[in-house]
């Protein structure tokens, strides 16, 4: 890919929630990134870091508090009703929770067919065939079309969700933890399916997950989020081989690797504590409370994303000196 066409550009995106008097939950606080056509951008981070909110705001499911989301150059927050419908035909989302994202009173066939009906893509027999085709595409059987969601396991429900997203043949799919509820063997199927569909239909993904090994596997570039901020951003191999932010390093160390010998020898970087509350965050680096390298400056100033290595951005005041001190760490 020489010429990269930008499909989505997110500029200084902010999403705040008012959670009480003078209490603002800053779920996403100034995030910038671009997604090129046909690529997969991965976003990883712990729960509460704002990755899902980020995905939903990019989809227009939340009205952004500030900043812009440009889809093919048009800000999706300024669309009228008709344009919005056109946009939803091009962009779809696969949700995290396969239990609450399917209507329990609709049959699976109708759930998958709903998008087809709304956009009037197929009718009658064609519609039925399309639904069967989608069910088989995601590894379910034709007979499942007449059943209700409660008759399925979590993994099967998630595949229904994927079939629903694929039904209207979108260009862009936000995959919000699409595989975290699935079994390993099914995860592989779904990820292979997503990759295969991407290559076949030149889809663009925003892949949100906390399973770092999967994110690395599927993504071209990966961004690491922590408490509403993007702390590191790089090509996926680069990020995993050479993490620069202390948080990313700890995150890498925490991934259990399915190999007993590696696990035994692994040097652990324990992160104490949990993510602090994103309500009324203090100025300064968000990671400061759990960071062992924190200095006075980190408490005062919010670090900005800087390009330390070509195409590798880090938001950390001390990343540069840490990189020089322990180049191999």
């Amino acid at each position: 890919m020489d010429k990269k066409e930008v499909l989505i550009e997110v500029k200084d995106l902010k999403k705040y929630f008012q959670v009480g008097r003078n209490q603002t939950l800053k779920a996403v606080d100034g995030v910038n990134f671009k997604i090129y056509k046909g690529e997969t951008l991965g976003i990883v981070g712990e729960s509460g870091c704002g990755k899902t909110t980020c995905g939903k705001t990019v989809m227009g499911l939340y009205q952004a508090t500030g900043g812009e989301v440009l889809f093919d150059g048009v800000d999706i927050n300024k669309l009228n009703k008709k344009e919005k419908k056109e946009f939803t035909k091009r962009a779809q989302i696969i949700f995290q929770d396969p239990y609450s994202s399917l209507n329990p009173r609709m049959t699976v066939g109708d759930i998958i067919g709903e998008g087809i009906d709304i956009h009037k893509l197929y009718t009658g027999k064609e519609r039925q065939e399309k639904i069967y085709e989608l069910l088989e595409l995601v590894g379910l059987n034709r007979e499942h079309a007449l059943r209700f969601p409660h008759e399925f396991s979590g993994g099967q429900r998630q595949r229904i969700g994927i079939a629903r997203a694929l039904a209207i043949e979108p260009e862009f799919i936000v995959c919000d933890e699409p595989i975290s509820a699935l079994d390993v063997s099914i995860q592989a199927q779904v990820v292979n399916l997503l990759i295969e569909l991407q290559q076949k239909k030149n889809l663009t993904y925003l892949f949100i997950a906390h399973d770092l090994s999967m994110v690395k596997h599927i993504s071209d570039r990966v961004g690491v989020m922590y408490l509403g901020n993007m702390v590191e951003f790089a090509e996926s191999d680069e990020l995993y081989q050479n993490p620069l932010h202390p948080y990313t390093k700890a995150l890498m160390a925490a991934i259990p690797i399915p190999d007993p010998d590696t696990e035994e020898q692994k040097k652990r970087i324990r992160l104490e504590g949990e993510i602090p509350s994103p309500v009324n965050p203090k100025p300064g680096c968000r990671f400061v409370t759990r960071c062992r390298y924190a200095t006075e400056k980190c408490h005062q100033e919010t670090p900005k994303l800087e390009e330390l290595v070509p195409e590798h951005f880090v938001a950390c005041h001390r990343a540069k000196e840490l990189m020089e001190d322990h180049p191999q760490e």
Partner: protein, 341 residues
């Protein structure tokens, strides 16, 4: 070898459903020794949660059928024959369970402190104040900061990781001999998962507790398990100690599970090994090996007759026709062929 504390013999669990009788667990045997960690891995629906719940007698009696010949011997006593009252005194005090979803398994209308104290009060003859004090100690033991303040809070005020810690505190409040952890970290983030698993490990050592870890996360299994048993469609297809399973697995299903996880050092977007098809319908389970329809080495015999047990070492054994002396093994990867004992 350490003392055997739990012995499961020929456990068979079925459920009555509208479609017919679903044979969720189809005759499994295993032992658990003091202090060891046994991991049960397998896909959802393979019966791993059902078997752990059957041990705890937590399955609804109205639609559950447990075979009369099944036995769950805890220190030699059959738990399946105990009355509900007797079970109440065992559950939570001798055998405890941590569930997958910390939000739905805590009582949303009760303060955390009261919930921990409750389990102590049920099992021990002590005053409320003492129970409350012990509950506080438990909460500190699971490293919840500001434990005193947290005692008076409700579950919704806790984050996911903290709720799971509170659950661990409840489960361990009476110092059980066996802890059954059903996907304890699946709902949690990796850094929190690492904390929780380390915490469980520490407490396990301290109390010399045995653990049955039910999970599908092979990474977690690799880091904590002593022994592993792999379940498929209600049966144990292979078991062994952790290195045997990860480095010398003999069952094609175990292989498939291990190969379907992306390696952190592997190249991007290369196709992962993925199992075709889905697990069989347990209402009409197949006659032969239930994995045969999805198995790339499947033979004719596999569909007709259930394979016999092949033993490879004191700990490793597997049910697969490929290890029968008559099987054609020319297509098999070399490291899968192990000498039988």
């Amino acid at each position: 070898m350490k003392e055997k504390i739990l012995e499961v013999k020929n456990l068979e669990v079925s459920f009555k459903t509208y479609a017919g009788i679903s044979h969720a667990v189809r005759g499994i045997d295993f032992n658990l020794h003091k202090g060891e960690t046994l991991a049960i891995v397998g896909e959802s629906g393979c019966g791993k949660t059902v078997s752990s719940k059957a041990i705890m007698r937590l399955l609804p009696e109205s639609n559950t059928l447990i075979n009369e010949n099944s036995e769950v011997l805890f220190h030699g006593e059959d738990l399946l024959k105990k009355s509900e009252n007797e079970m109440v005194s065992i559950r939570g005090s001798k055998i405890s369970m941590i569930f997958q979803d910390p939000m739905t398994s805590l009582n949303p209308t009760m303060k955390i402190g009261d919930q921990i104290a409750e389990s102590i009060l049920i099992h021990r003859q002590i005053s409320k104040e003492e129970a409350y004090k012990e509950a506080l100690e438990m909460l500190q033991l699971v490293k919840i900061p500001n434990a005193e303040k947290r005692m008076k809070q409700y579950p919704f005020e806790f984050s996911g990781g903290m709720r799971q810690r509170a659950m661990i505190a409840i489960a361990l409040a009476c110092k059980p001999e066996i802890l059954i952890a059903d996907e304890p970290t699946t709902a949690l983030d990796v850094t929190i998962q690492a904390q929780i698993m380390e915490l469980i490990g520490e407490l396990q050592k301290e109390l010399d507790m045995a653990m049955i870890l039910v999970t599908h996360d092979l990474g977690v299994v690799a880091s904590v398990a002593d022994k592993i048993q792999v379940m498929y469609a209600g049966k144990i297809v292979e078991r062994g100690d952790v290195r045997e399973i990860f480095y010398q697995s003999t069952h094609p299903y175990t292989r498939a599970l291990l190969d379907s996880v992306p390696k952190i050092h592997s190249t991007n977007k290369e196709t992962l090994y993925s199992l075709k098809g889905t697990p069989p319908d347990l209402i009409n389970p197949p006659v032969g090996c239930s994995f045969a329809p999805r198995c790339e080495y499947g033979m004719n015999i596999c569909r007709k007759k259930y394979p016999e047990l092949t033993k490879f070492s004191d700990t490793q054994e597997c049910n697969c026709w490929l290890h029968d002396p008559r099987a054609d093994v020319r297509n098999l990867p070399e490291n899968m062929i192990r000498r039988r004992q």
